[in-house]
Symmetry: D2
Subunit: 448 residues, 4 copies
C-alpha cells in the first residue's frame, strides 16, 4: 500500500464506479439482457440471496440493466411500478390498527407497511461500486419516460426520497475548479454550462484565470461529476453587461476587486432534478470568497431574465396605456417578424420600468413570474438593479430585450429577506428598482 | 488553493467536522445552553428560517446541544419525542383517505403524513460541517438513555432509518490500515479493539506487520473514524490457538501463506448500533486478499465462543448422561469456586463434542445460541473446526473452557450456506465437526 | 493544516515556484532592475549576507533577474562569466602545490580552487521557492545567447554540471498521463509534442484513451513541468504506418494487444538540453507496461528517419550504379522542384534497400548518420524493420521519402546490444533488414 | 490508474526506496556478497554497461553492498579510495597545460581530470529506487570508519560534495508534524529527539497538541525520513524553565500566545553530517508561525548550554578572584564527588554572571566556546537571557549547573547580527545579558 492515506480513502469509490459505468462487467460477454432477467435479478437482490451476496449481485443487476435499450427500460420501469410496490392490504391493515390505537408502535408499523420494496431495491443497488452514479443515470431515464407515463411518478418519488437523503448538504464537498483540475472534470464544465456557453478549452481557461473563480459541489460517491457549479468574476463595481465580461482578455488583479459577480450557475445532473443545491452553493462560495479577499464588499449576480419578453407579449394590449407603449409594441412585433434587433435607446426607460415591474410585481400563485427571480429571491437576495443592454446576444434579445438583472446577496440580510419572501410573498428591492417600479403607473394585475 | 484535487475534495468535510466536535463554536463563549434554547434552535431549523440560513443555524444548534450535560440531554430527547412527532390527526386523515381510495396519490400522501419532523430536523442538522459525526454521537447518548426510557425508541427509529440510508454499503470505503496510517486513526484501533486487546503501540505495530493485514470501513463524512475493522494473519495452515498468534514476534513471509485467518473484528461506533457492516467487510477483505495473494486457499476465522460455559451451566444436570460428564461438572464447579483453570486433557473429547453440539445444534428461536456463531453462520460461513486450548486467557477459560472455533468462508458457497441458514435454519458444518456432534448421544433439546 | 500528509509534502515546492515564475515578487513594484543591480544581488548572495538571509535574498535576486530583457540578460551572462569565475592565480598556486606533492590533501585543495563561484551562486539561487524552474529558464536564455557568444560555454558548463547532479535519474518520477491529469500539465503535452503534432484537446484525449499510454518523467521541484514524455499504442502486431495510428477513432482493447508501440518521444525543457532522459524513460515504461499487460511480446518504436533524404542527395551521383537509381534520382529532383509527392511503388525495393543501408551502414565519426538511429541504437535497440509508406505527411515525404523505421527493444538484449554499439560500433539488425542491406551492392563509403 | 495525480507523483520514489532498504533484492537469495564482487559491480556500473542497464545494475550493486558486514564494508571503502580515484598523471598533465595556457578550455579540462570516478559511481548508484537513502546510510558507515582510517576523508569528500548539491535548500520541503502524520514518521521523532527525550507515544502526543508545533524538513527522495525537526511551544511570555514546559498537561490556547518558544531541534540523519539545515528550518518555521498567528511577538529558543561546567573547570583557579568564587568552586568539586546537586540560591548571581561571560565573551579561534551558542549566534540570533534553574534534570545540572539560555530571533535583525558575527566576531546581546557580563570583573582571556 502506497501513498497518502486520505487520497486513497476516496479513490476506490471512483474506480469501481468507472468500471461499472463503462459497462465493463456485462459488456464483457457482449450480450443484452431481457427485461425479465433484470427484473428477476432485482427480485433476487431484495431477497435473502441479496443479503449474502455482498455487492456482487448489485453489480450484476446494474450491469444487466445498462444493456437495456430505451424501450426495454420503459418496460422495466413499469415492472418497478407494479412488482416492487408496498402491499395494499398490508397498508390498509396497519392503517386500521393505527386508527383503533394511535400508539407509537402502530405508527412505526404503519410506516413500515408503507415503505415500498423499491426503496430497499435501490438501497441494495447502491451497494455496487459506482451504484450511485448508475442510479442517478437510471432516474434520468425514468424522468424522460415520465412525460408519457405519469404513473411512473410513484417510482420516481422513491428515488427522489433516497437521493434527498444521500445528497444531503452535509455530504457535499465544495471544491474550487481551476486549471489544475483534472481534464475529466473540466470537460464536464464545458458540457454542462447552461447560461453562457463555454467555447472550448481556451475559453474555459480564461474562465478559471486569476480574476475569476469557479466552484462546484461534489459528492464523494461521484468524484468525477460536479453536481452544480458557479462562475464568479472578481471585479471593480457591479458589472451590468455580460459580453464584455465574457470577452475580456486581460486578467485583472483580484486583490483590487470590491465585487464578486456571480455570472453563471449551472446544474449538472439531470438525474438529480428536484434536489436544489444552488442556494447552499452561492452562500458558501460567498463566504469562501469573503475569507480569501476581505476587500470584497458586494456579492451580486448578473442574471438573465428568461420570461420578460413572453410576459410583454401577454401584456401587449395593456402597453397602450404606457408611455412609449406603441414603440414597445412595434419592437415586439419586429422581433416576431425577423431576426431580433436590440431595442433602440428611446425604449430604455419604458423597458427598464416594465422589467422592474415584471420582476418586482408580476406574480403567479403568489410567486414571481420569472424562474430565475424566484430562485434568487427565495434564497434571500435583493432585486438590486436592472441593466439596459446587459446581454445583446441573440438569446438575450429574444428573451429579455437585451436586459439583465443584478440580484444582490447581503449575507447579513438573506435570512430576513428569505422569511419576508416565503411568509409574506414580499420582494425586497433596492431604492433604484423601487423608483423604476413607481415611475410606471400600470394596471393592477388580476388573478395573481 | 494548492495541491491535489482529489485529496482536497475530501478533507474539507474532515476539517469542519473536527472544529464542530471540538465544540469550538459554542465553547468560545464558554456558556452552557438551556434545553429550551436548544429546542428553539431546532424549531427554527425546521422552519423557513432554517432553509435560508444555510449551514449556520445547524452549526449553532449542534454546538448548543453539545454544551448540554447528560441530564439536560435526557430532557432534550423527550422534547424530540413530543415536539417533533408527526401529527396524529394528519396521519389518521391520510389513512382514512387511503382506505376509501387506495390510490398511489393517497399512498404518497399517507407516507408524507407519517414522516416525522424529526427526520427533517436530523437531515438539516447534518448540513453542518461535522454534522454526521455529531449525530452519531447524539444517537450514542440517546441509546444510553433508552435503557431507562423505552419510549425514546421512536426517536431512535428516525435516526436509525436515516443512518441506514446514509451509511449504505455503497458509501463505505475499504481502507487498509498499516504503519503509514495517521496516528489519529491508529490510536482508535487501540481503543476500539474488542476481541483481543491491543497492548499499546508496540503491539499495534506487530499487528500491522508484513504478515498481517488490517482493514477498516470508513465513511467520507467521518474520515478519522473507522466504522469497523478486521485483523487478519497470513499464515500456513488454519491456526487453532490464539495466544501464539498474538505473541509471535517473528514476521512471516506472506507470499508463502495459504490461509487468511480473521482473528479479530471490532465495531467502532456505538452510535451506529444496529447497522451491520461485518458481513460486507469480511467478504470484501477476503476478495482483496485473494487478489493480492493468489496462493491463499483458506479464508477462516479464529473466533471466541462467548456463550459456551453459560450453556454448560444450563445443561449441567444433563451432563450426568454423558461420558466423562462428572468430570465436566467438577471442572465447572471448580471455575465457580476459584480462579478459572484450564480443563485437563481428559476433558478434551467430551468438551469438544459438547461444544460442537452447542454451536451446531443448540438453538433458541430457531437460531444458534451463540452470538458469534449467529453472525458468521448468517454470513454464509461454515462451522469448520473446534479448537482445544485455543484461548487460555482468563476470559477464554471462563467463557468457553479455553475452546475456540474456526468459521470458514468459501467464497463460492456463502450464498448457498446463507440461504440454507436463513430459509431452513440449517447450519452447514464440516465433516469433522459433524463427527463430533454425532459422537455424542445427547437428549433432544426441548423448546428450541 | 489539513489533508493528506504526503500530498501536502510536495505541493509547497510547487506553490512557491509558481509565485516566483509569475514574477509576482518584483513585478509588484512594476520596476525593471538594472544589470548592475542584479549582479550586486548575486554578489551579496554568495557573501556572508546570503548565508543568513535564508531564501529571501535568492528570491529577490531571481525576481530582479526576471525583469531583465533579452539584451540585459546577455550582458548579465557576461558578468557571470567574468565576475564569478575561479581566480586564476589561486588555481595556478594549487596546481603547482599538487605538482610538487600529489597528495590527497593537495588534490582536494586543487579541486576547491577550481570550483567556480558561479556554482555556489546557482546553488544559492536554487534555495528560492521555484528556484529550480527559474534556473532552468535562465539556462534556456543562456543557450540562446551561446550561439553568438561561444565564451559563455564556461558559464553553461557550471549550470550543466549542477543540473546533471540535480536531475539524476534517482530523483525523477515516472508518472502516467491520462485524462485525469490536471489540465495545466496536459496543455504542456500539446505544446511540447515534437514528433506528431497534437491537434488540440480532442486529439489529446484520443492519445490517452484506453488503448494508449502516455508516461512522463517529472522532477519534484518542477511538479507542473514534464521533462520528457513518451506515447505508446497497445496494438496487435508491429505497426508500420503512422497515419492510421494517429487517425484511428476506434478504441482497441489493450488486453488483447501483443505489441507496445512507442510512436512519439518528446523532450520538454529546452533549459535541460544535454541531459538525456529518453533511455531511462523507454526502459522503465517498457517494464511498467510488461507488468500491467503480461501479454505484451514486442516493444518497439515507429520512428522517423529525419536524415534519409539529405543523405540521398549526398549520394545522388552514386545512385547511377544502383538498380532503379535513375528513378530515385528523378523523384529526388522532383521533390526539389515542387511539392513533395510520395515515391511510386516501383521505388519501394530500391528505397527500402537504400534506407537500410543508410541506417545500418552509413556512418560519420563511427556513428550512424541518422540522429534518431543514434539515440535508439545507443540505448541498445535493434534495427528491426523499414516501413514503406510509413509516414505520408508532407514532412515525412520530404525528410524520409515517406519511409519510417521500427527499432525494437528486447529487454534481455539491450545491455549486449549497447555494448556492441559503444565498444565496437556494431549495429544489431534483424535478419530482414540485413537482407535489405545485402541485396544492395553499394560502394564502400569513404571517410567513415 | 487512480487517484490524485500529485500524491501519486511522489509515492513511487518512496516505494522503491523501501524495497531496496529492506534489502529484499539480494536477501531473496540469502547469499552474502564478497567485497570483490561488490567492487566489480561498481566497476561495471561506471562502465558502458552501466549506461545501458538503467537502474537494474545500480539496484544490484547496492543490494550486494548491503549484505556486507562492517569489516567487509571497511575493506570496500578502501577499494573506493584506491580504485575509483582520479588518475594522478592525468591531473598533472592538465595542471601543466593550464599553467602554460590558463584558458577557459584548459580550466574545464583540469576540472574534468580532477573529478573522481567515485562521484560518477555515486551518481549512478543513486539511480536505483531508494538509492539516495542507501547512499546516506553508506556514508553513515563511512563516517564511523573514518575515526580509525582518516585517509577515507577523501571518499567522504566526494559523498559530501554530492549531498550538498542534492540536499540543497531548494529541494527540501517543510512539513508540519502532528497527530495526523503517519506513525512511520512519528516513531522516528521519538527515536531522533536529541535534546529532551520523548517518553513514548503519550508524550509525543502532548508535543503535537494544539499549543505546540512541530516542523520537519523532508527531501522528496526520502519521504519517510525527517532530516531535521524542531519543536515549538506557543505560550505567553518567554519561558525560562524547561521541565514545566515538558510536563505541562493542560493545553493552552495558541490564539492568546505572544511567544513562539523553540525548545528542541534535532538532526535526524547521521549520514548527512556536515550539511546544515537548522538555520533554514528555524527561519522558515518562524515565518510560518508568524503568518498563522499574527499575535506572536517573540521568537526565541530555550536552549541548553552544554559546555558551561566544562569551562568552569578550566577557569577553576581564576574563580578565586570572583565574588562567591569559593562557593562556586565548592559546588563544582561537589559535583565531581557525588551525584550532581543543583547549586544553592546564593550562587545565582555569580553563576548567571559567569555564564553570561562564558556565552558572550569566552572564545576559541574567535568563536564562542559553546557549540549551541555558535549555532544560534551564527544564524543571527541575539543572546537574550540566562535562565537560573532552567533545566534541573541530571544532565542539565551536570553540564550547565542547571542554567539554560534564550536566544532570540528578530526576523528583521538576523541578517545584521549574522554579518556582525561572521565579519567582526561580534556577539549581539540584550541589555540584560550585557549587564550580567559587566557586573563581573574578570581577567581578559588570553589565547582567544
Amino acid at each position: 500500500m502506497s501513498g497518502s492515506f486520505f487520497s486513497q480513502l476516496f479513490t476506490s469509490i471512483a474506480e469501481g464506479g468507472r468500471a461499472l459505468l463503462d459497462g465493463q462487467v456485462w459488456r464483457a460477454g457482449g450480450a443484452r439482457a431481457s427485461v425479465a432477467a433484470v427484473t428477476e435479478l432485482c427480485q433476487a437482490l431484495v431477497s435473502q440471496r441479496g443479503e449474502a451476496s455482498g455487492a456482487a449481485l448489485a453489480i450484476e443487476t446494474l450491469a444487466a440493466y445498462q444493456t437495456l435499450d430505451a424501450d426495454d427500460r420503459a418496460v422495466f420501469f413499469e415492472r418497478l411500478l407494479d412488482d416492487f410496490a408496498p402491499k395494499s392490504e398490508g397498508v390498509l391493515r396497519a392503517a386500521e390498527a393505527y386508527r383503533s390505537d394511535p400508539s407509537q408502535a402502530n405508527l412505526l408499523a404503519l410506516g413500515g407497511a408503507i415503505e415500498s420494496p423499491r426503496q430497499e431495491l435501490f438501497r441494495r443497488l447502491n451497494m455496487a461500486p459506482g451504484g450511485t452514479a448508475a442510479l442517478v443515470e437510471l432516474r434520468h431515464g425514468l424522468l424522460r419516460q415520465m412525460a408519457d407515463r405519469p404513473e411512473l411518478r410513484v417510482v420516481d418519488a422513491d428515488l427522489l426520497y433516497l437521493f434527498r437523503s444521500w445528497f444531503n448538504r452535509g455530504f457535499l464537498v465544495l471544491q474550487r475548479i481551476d486549471w489544475r483540475t483534472p481534464a475529466v472534470i473540466l470537460e464536464k464544465l464545458i458540457r454542462y454550462e447552461a447560461v453562457h456557453a463555454i467555447d472550448g478549452w481556451g475559453d474555459l481557461r480564461r474562465r478559471v484565470a486569476a480574476d475569476r473563480r469557479c466552484f462546484a459541489f461534489f459528492h464523494p460517491a461521484l468524484p468525477d461529476e460536479p453536481l452544480i457549479f458557479v462562475q464568479v468574476a472578481l471585479i471593480k463595481g457591479m458589472a451590468d453587461k455580460v459580453q464584455p465580461l465574457l470577452d475580456r482578455a486581460e486578467i485583472g488583479d483580484p486583490a483590487s476587486a470590491d465585487t464578486a459577480l456571480f455570472y453563471s450557475i449551472s446544474d449538472c445532473q439531470a438525474g438529480l432534478r428536484g434536489i436544489s443545491f444552488g442556494n447552499f452553493l452561492i452562500k458558501q462560495v460567498a463566504a469562501e470568497l469573503q475569507s480569501e479577499w476581505p476587500n470584497l464588499k458586494t456579492f451580486a449576480t448578473l442574471s438573465p431574465i428568461p420570461g420578460f419578453v413572453t410576459w410583454l407579449w401577454e401584456m401587449v394590449n395593456s402597453l397602450d396605456t404606457v408611455p412609449e407603449g406603441a414603440e414597445v409594441q412595434a419592437w415586439l412585433r419586429g422581433t416576431a417578424d425577423h431576426d431580433a434587433e436590440p431595442p433602440g435607446s428611446a425604449l430604455e426607460q419604458p423597458l427598464l420600468q416594465l422589467c422592474a415591474h415584471y420582476l418586482g410585481r408580476a406574480k403567479r400563485n403568489g410567486r414571481p413570474r420569472d424562474p430565475v427571480a424566484r430562485f434568487h429571491l427565495r434564497n434571500g437576495a435583493r432585486l438590486e438593479q436592472i441593466d439596459w443592454a446587459g446581454d445583446l446576444s441573440e438569446r438575450g434579445i429574444a428573451q429579455s430585450a437585451g436586459l439583465m438583472v443584478n440580484y444582490r446577496y447581503q449575507l447579513d440580510q438573506v435570512e430576513r429577506n428569505h422569511e419576508a419572501y416565503v411568509n409574506e410573498g414580499r420582494i425586497v428591492t433596492s431604492r433604484k428598482v423601487e423608483g423604476l417600479i413607481r415611475a410606471l403607473s400600470w394596471p393592477q394585475e388580476s388573478g395573481v
